[in-house]
């Protein structure tokens, strides 16, 4: 069934907009904004604010309505399905099925210096009251920290015979993360070692579908907890181990 935005009545289709047009404010400015939104397909457009924020830029706040909707059931995506597990059962699973420690190497790669995210996942203290991977007795987790070149990350992963590589990418301006993430996969493939690792990426602008597109095994977005990541790693590494 199609759903439409809900303002205060079902199917009213109300959306709020704000944007800036590179035009000088004039008596017509409100209509320029209104007609612009109408061209984009909205109706019942109301310009709530239309203001010169510079001699050459006009800022708008507006409301409009759309008749278009979307069928939520038709939205099929690549959602990461991980069986929920707790700290103890994750450790137990690794011990039982893998029979050795699960080795993980993580880093914020290339020019990205944001470590708070990867720290939250990997470091002892964890995040949101959730232990980080370092705390798991059945994991051997190494967090390399910030601005680690892809080559260095790979070198370390090979040295430690890691099962999984965790990559963090926070800066996304001009799609620089796409560049970095692609670079890592290309390096792994060039070295012929792509299949040796479970490769995971995370960050506030990452999701699973996007990660898959770039050739990763999984992607984690904002507010990820270490537990989710640990559960995924344990299940995936064990699965591969059993398949092999």
């Amino acid at each position: 069934m199609l759903v439409r935005p809900y303002g205060d009545t079902r199917d009213d289709g109300v959306i709020q907009f704000s944007f800036t047009l590179p035009i000088a404010y004039s008596i017509k400015a409100a209509d320029v904004g209104k007609q612009f939104l109408e061209r984009l397909g909205f109706h019942t457009v109301g310009i709530a604010e239309c203001k010169a924020i510079d001699p050459e830029y006009t800022f708008y706040v507006a409301y409009g309505r759309t008749d278009s909707g979307i069928d939520p059931d038709a939205v099929k995506g690549d959602y990461l399905e991980v069986e929920e597990m707790d700290y103890y059962s994750i450790n137990a699973l690794i011990k039982e099925k893998l029979g050795r420690k699960l080795s993980v190497v993580g880093a914020a790669i290339e020019s990205d210096a944001h470590t708070v995210g990867i720290d939250a996942i990997m470091n002892m203290k964890g995040f949101a009251g959730n232990y980080g991977l370092e705390r798991y007795p059945e994991m051997d987790a190494l967090n390399l920290g910030s601005q680690i070149p892809c080559a260095q990350l790979l070198k370390t992963a090979l040295e430690r015979d890691a099962d999984a590589i965790l990559v963090s990418q926070i800066v996304t301006q001009k799609n620089i993360h796409v560049q970095h993430l692609t670079q890592l996969i290309e390096l792994l493939e060039a070295e012929g070692v792509r299949e040796r690792f479970v490769i995971v990426v995370g960050g506030p602008r990452i999701n699973n579908a996007f990660a898959k597109e770039l050739g990763y095994d999984a992607g984690f977005g904002p507010r990820t907890t270490p537990l989710e990541v640990a559960a995924f790693l344990a299940q995936e590494v064990v699965r591969r181990h059993e398949e092999a």
Partner: protein, 536 residues
């Protein structure tokens, strides 16, 4: 920071004395008059509901038919008719509507019987109100009580079912009080519409069925959240006491209910309004309903900086009328507002002075603090910030009922998401600044204290002037809200009746007898909820 300002106590006494005298003067007028809606409310208190085939409420039909008899009160002839016809009140009213029964002057010999039965019925009517009030007390005790300040938001879609959806969402987001705004101009209808409604302009009709539907929705969500969620409507306009009756029966918890709002903002006849407000407040008092007065509105037509003191003087007047109508202090939600132009330097400092003044003048009263409206911009982002400073001022000065501002105030009645954003704004500011007030003291003789005392002085002087000239004259001179009203003009004047010596209405006494007292008491929110988490 209570009692943090060194206010001039002599001025407080002068102001209160003048307000008392003003109210006493008007109370005389009240005691000498009745109105059609007062009589209709009386019938509603007997339990009469429903409409005739052209949607005129039965109570209107009956009172219309008995128009000639009103100066003696509708009760005697109506109960006499019930006795004569051997019918219940509802049946008798239906009979009148069907043209089968007719009201008539009650001859001497039937008077005693009619009056005795009427007194019984009045006690029963009041008992129904008491039962509803007891039910509220139970529910609050069972469900849990909100933490103050209460977060108060409005719903106003016009459709009671959409309103219910939005009210529940608001409660889940943290709202403690839901007010269903009435459709534009309902206040000018000289009857109360009937049944559920799904169409309105800028609000939803206040009908008894709509009250019931919303009450049920809020009880549901309250149980889910472990926090009793209060319902508010408007005992205001041409049908003040009738709506109060409906609210008392459907367990509303708050009512906009002002002694002068209708006069000033709806151009309703002043002789009528004073009479109407009296019974409406007696009912609210009995029902354990908190009233909200409408002084905030003054600052939308008059300048808040220059005329802020009129809010204070009017609060004294509303207090005096409220006490005369048997309301207890915990029920008297005097109004004030954050309406100084945000462009004024030190706007928030002045707002703090004004809000702190009202807080200290009326300790123990659940003041209702109204958000910025007049100067809210089309830029919703900036409006949200102004609302944030309003929330700050509210928590800093210890307000108890915070009507939240909406970022879209200048545009439309709130969208679902507007309310969510506003509640998040308020909850954040309240928690983040909760103990700031108790951490600081106002500088003696500083601009805040000076402003507060100046406002108090102007209010006291204005009240003394009003006492001198009388409230009718004051209203005709536009002393409140910069709006002038003709004492004889305005709507509904034709519904005012001088009462006869034998005027009879047992409700006035019954409502005062054996009064329940005190506010509901409950555990902190959520305390009594079972295992699983409600909401999100």
């Amino acid at each position: 920071m209570n009692d943090a300002l060194r206010l001039n106590g002599a001025l407080v006494d002068r102001a209160r004395a003048a307000a008392d005298a003003i109210a006493d003067d008007i109370q005389q007028h009240i005691d000498e008059h009745t109105t059609d809606t007062t009589e209709r409310a009386t019938l509603r208190l007997l339990g009469i509901a429903g409409v005739n085939e052209i949607d005129v409420p039965l109570v209107n039909v009956v009172v219309e038919q008995g128009r000639e008899l009103l100066s003696g009160g509708i009760m005697r002839p109506f109960v006499d008719l019930m006795l004569r016809a051997g019918k219940s009140a509802q049946q008798a009213a239906e009979g009148v509507a069907a043209g089968e029964l007719a009201l008539a002057e009650v001859p001497g010999e039937r008077r005693a019987a009619a009056e005795a039965r009427a007194e019984e019925l009045a006690r029963e009517g009041v008992a129904r109100i008491d039962a509803v009030r007891r039910r509220r007390n139970e529910l609050v005790a069972q469900t849990g009580e909100a933490v103050k300040p209460y977060v108060y938001v409005i719903v106003a879609t016009g459709n009671i079912y959409e309103d219910a959806v939005q009210a529940k969402a608001a409660a889940r987001a943290g709202a403690d009080v839901i007010a269903v705004i009435r459709t534009t101009a309902q206040s000018l209808l000289d009857y109360v519409p009937y049944g559920e409604t799904t169409e309105g302009f800028g609000g939803t009709y206040a009908t008894q069925e709509n009250f019931r539907l919303m009450r049920a929705a809020l009880d549901d969500v309250g149980a889910e959240l472990g926090r009793y969620v209060r319902l508010c409507n408007y005992a205001s306009g041409l049908c003040m006491p009738e709506i109060a009756t409906m609210g008392a029966l459907e367990r509303l918890d708050m009512m906009l209910n002002d002694s002068m709002y209708g006069i000033i903002f709806r151009n309703i006849n002043m002789e009528r309004t004073f009479v109407d407000q009296y019974l409406s407040r007696l009912i609210n008092a009995r029902a354990g309903i908190i009233i909200n007065t409408g002084e905030d509105n003054y600052l939308t037509t008059a300048d808040a900086f220059e005329k802020g003191f009129t809010v204070v003087s009017s609060d004294f007047i509303n207090e005096a009328f409220a006490l005369r109508a048997n309301l207890e202090p915990w029920q008297i939600g005097l109004g004030h507002a954050f309406e100084i132009d945000p462009a004024k330097p030190d706007q928030v400092v002045y707002q703090i002075a004004d809000a702190q003044l009202v807080r200290e003048l009326f300790p123990g009263y659940p003041l209702k603090y109204m958000p910025p409206t007049k100067y809210m911009p089309g830029d919703i982002f900036h409006g949200h910030i102004i609302d944030g400073m309003f929330n700050f001022t509210g928590i800093f000065t210890g307000q108890e009922i915070m009507l939240l501002g909406m970022p879209t105030e200048a545009l439309h009645t709130p969208l679902l998401q507007d309310r969510y954003l506003s509640i998040k704004n308020a909850k954040y500011v309240f928690e983040a600044c909760r103990d700031l007030a108790s951490e600081v003291t106002f500088k003696p003789g500083g601009m805040i204290e000076r402003r507060a005392n100046e406002q108090l002085q102007k209010a006291a002087e204005q009240l003394e002037e009003v006492r001198e000239i009388g409230l009718f004259e004051a209203l005709s001179r536009g002393m409140f809200a910069d709006v002038k009203r003709d004492p004889k003009g305005g709507r509904g004047g034709e519904g005012v009746f001088h009462i006869a010596a034998d005027y009879f209405n047992p409700f006035f006494a019954a409502l005062r007898e054996g009064r329940l007292s005190g506010a509901p008491v409950g555990p902190p929110p959520g305390a009594s909820v079972s295992g699983e988490e409600g909401g999100h």
